[in-house]
Every structure is written in C-alpha cells, then in structure tokens.
Symmetry: C2
C-alpha cells in the first residue's frame, strides 16, 4: 500500500508521501509517489499517488506526454489549463481512462486494479487548491473545515491530524503533523515504508519552496520519532482514569 497526505494551510501547502510498493509481501520495492509539474512563477502542481503502480505510472506518463505534445491545448495540458479546477478535471479523466484500460486487461484474470491521487497546486492569480481524485475520475476538495486529504493507509495517521491541523496551523507545525502522522502509520503497517518525500509550497510562491527526501536512517526524523514516542509515553503516564 501507500500513505500520502496533503495539507491546505493559510500559509501554504504541505505534502508527504512514502515510497513503498509491494506486489505481495515478498515483492517490495521503492518508487517515488510525489510528482511536480512547474512553470516557475506561473504555476505549481504536485501530485501524490496511491494504488496500482501500473495505473499511477501510466497516468503520470500520459499527463507528461499531453504537456509535451506540440498540439497541447488548455483542454489537454495541465500546464496550460486556465484554473486548478480544470487541472483536476484533466487529471481525473486521465486517471479514469488509464484505470479502465488496466482494469479491462486484468478482468481476463478475474482481477481488478485501482488508484487514487492527491493534487495540490496554485496558478498565478488563483487560490491554492488541494484535491483528492478518485479512481473513477471524480474528486473532492480540501476546505477550511477539513484542511487535509489522505490516500492509501489513512486510518493510523488520522487521529493526530484530526487533533492538530487547522487552516491557521503554521507550515512548520504542518510539517511536524504530517511527519508524526506518517510515523504512526510506519509503526503500525508494514506496507508503508521509508524513504519519505516531503514538499512545501508557500502561498503565492508558484514553486516548491522546500523539498526533502527523508532516508531510512535520517537522524532528524529518528530524533523526532523518538521524542514523540517518549512524549506519548509520558502523556500516557500522566493521564488518569
């Protein structure tokens, strides 16, 4: 499986993905699940992927081909689309088409496949927007009431987000929240694994302002993870029933 999470904060967007893919427990590999599409200063789009690798890779490849096509139009290229809503529509219809095609192939083996995406971005003159695109191509959008979206193994890491993430949360606290949410998921589910990809898009920057790959042995992540474990254990001792 996978765990990816995106936050839509007043000060910007925070995106985090793991990199583990598996075809059965005995076939585990590392694949990037965070993809950037950028026209510096004009627009930034970041896509996080979960689900069947054959679907997500083909979807990303088709989006790139559509951008590079000499006959690309605002109807086909996410770098020309006039709004983030149109970007989400193009991505949704591409995902839906690829998924249907892979699903048809798998049907001959009585199997199926699925995938979902988180799409975050901003274009010059527009607002930051964060979408969750479903396998069928429809999508929902993060709002003030629910300023985060998750795909993949989302349940382990949801309680901490429910408790601390608000639109007014700072970018630094947002990074901490997604990393702790990932930390809980990593501890409880083998199908989610290091390294991690973390990205921050500051409001109105129209570019990825911070991108970091966090490797398995990363000292800062381990320190944070241990400090969080200790703080949880201390809290557990302190709370009375």
């Amino acid at each position: 499986m996978t765990y990816c999470v995106g936050l839509l904060l007043n000060d910007g967007m925070v995106m985090l993905s793991d990199t583990r893919t598996n075809a059965g427990l005995d076939n585990i590999a590392t694949y990037r699940k965070m993809f950037q599409f950028e026209v510096p200063g004009e627009r930034i789009i970041v896509i996080l992927t979960a689900g069947s690798l054959s679907i997500t890779q083909t979807t990303i490849a088709q989006l790139r081909e559509a951008i590079e096509d000499p006959e690309a139009t605002p109807e086909t290229s996410i770098l020309q689309a006039p709004t983030m809503l149109k970007v989400a529509e193009i991505i949704g219809s591409t995902l839906s088409r690829v998924r249907a095609s892979v699903d048809d192939k798998l049907a001959t083996m009585r199997q199926g496949a699925s995938a979902s995406l988180i799409v975050g971005g901003q274009r010059k003159g527009g607002a930051m927007r964060l979408f969750l695109v479903y396998p069928e191509g429809n999508f929902i959008e993060a709002t003030e009431d629910t300023p985060f979206l998750q795909i993949g193994e989302h349940k382990y890491g949801k309680p901490i987000l429910d408790r601390v993430v608000r639109p007014q949360t700072s970018i630094a606290d947002g990074q901490k929240a997604v990393l702790l949410s990932m930390d809980s998921t990593l501890r409880s589910n083998l199908s989610v694994g290091m390294p991690l990809d973390l990205a921050v898009i500051d409001r109105d920057a129209m570019r990825v302002t911070m991108a970091r790959r966090i490797e398995a042995g990363d000292a800062d992540f381990r320190t944070m993870s241990e400090a969080w474990s200790n703080a949880l254990r201390d809290s557990f001792v302190k709370v009375k029933i």
Copy 2:
C-alpha cells in the same frame, strides 16, 4: 462498524467494546457487543462481537441454547468444554455455520455478510487465553509478543496499543490503553459510538472482576479524553523537527 479490543496481560484480561451498529448512515442503533458466560469460580468466558448483527446475535443465541440443552456435552457446550482451546473451536464452528447460513440467504440479493469475534477466558486449572475468531471459524491467539487483539475498525486505535501494551502492563494501565485507543477511534470514525462496555478479568479469579458501562456523558471518560487531548497537544508543541 464496531471497535472491540482485548488485552492478555500477566495480571489479567481487559476487554472493551463499543455499542454502535448501523445499517447505512441513516439507521444507527445501540446494541451490546460484549457477552459473558460464567460458572463462578470454575470458568469465565467473555465474547466481543463485530460484523453483521444478524450473524453475531444468532451465534450468541445458539451458544446459549447449546449450554442450556439438557443433552449438552463437552463437545457442544462452552461451559462444559474441557479447555479454552475447545471453547474457541465450538465458538468458531458455531460462527462459521451461522455465517454460511446468513450468507446463503443474502446471496439471492447478491450481497454477503460477515462477522468476527474476540473470545477471552480461563477455566480452573488452565491459563488465561485470548482468541480472535475469524468469519470462517478458524482463529488466532494472543501471545507474549502480541498481547492484544482487535476486531472492527482497528486501525485508528492501533498506534497507542503498539506503543504501550506489553504482557507486564498493569491492569490499570491496560484499561487506560484500551480507553485511549477507543477514544482515538471514536474521534476519527462515526461508525463507532458510545456507550462503551469495559470488563476486567483478574488472573485466576474465574469471574468478571470489574464490569462498567461508560455512557456518552460519563464525566470520568470525558476528563480522561480531554486530558489526553491536552497532553497530545503539549507533546506536539514540545517535539522538534
């Protein structure tokens, strides 16, 4: 859905269940999911249920009928079975038979139904044992390495159990751990709801030593829940990235 959890600690067993059942979001009801079978001083068995109410109610009813049958034998009555392993086998085969029968009925509507159980108990002269019984009737058992079992919506509340529950955990800390695990689940998933049923079976007591229904407005539970929220938020502020 449901969330139920059982701990197998050196000092005894701790069991907790919610009471929410739903047939669609617009049809929510309260049903007890914790059932006791007791021969005071000789044996205690507690069953927690998750899944289709028509399956779990019929399974519990058939177990009771088998106990009350004048021709009950150690092969059919969980109160006569010679070991807890045999108890788990009787419960497993009852669940499997009921599930298959309900499933056959639902097949005419192209639907299916399932259920799983946690079974904890001890008989005089035997050890405390805790089982998770699958819909097919097979089961697994809690061990020193993994001293807890969960059914239903288990993911939200697993991180806290992974971090704090060990065989040497005290009964008081075990109660705190299952209540905090439930608290995280209640906050993140609407299909799990108050009131809660909490039970403790002290080692070698052969009876439920403490049973408590925690109602929605319970002051102690709310105080604990708020203290935990505050402690988590304080921990979140303290941890550095």
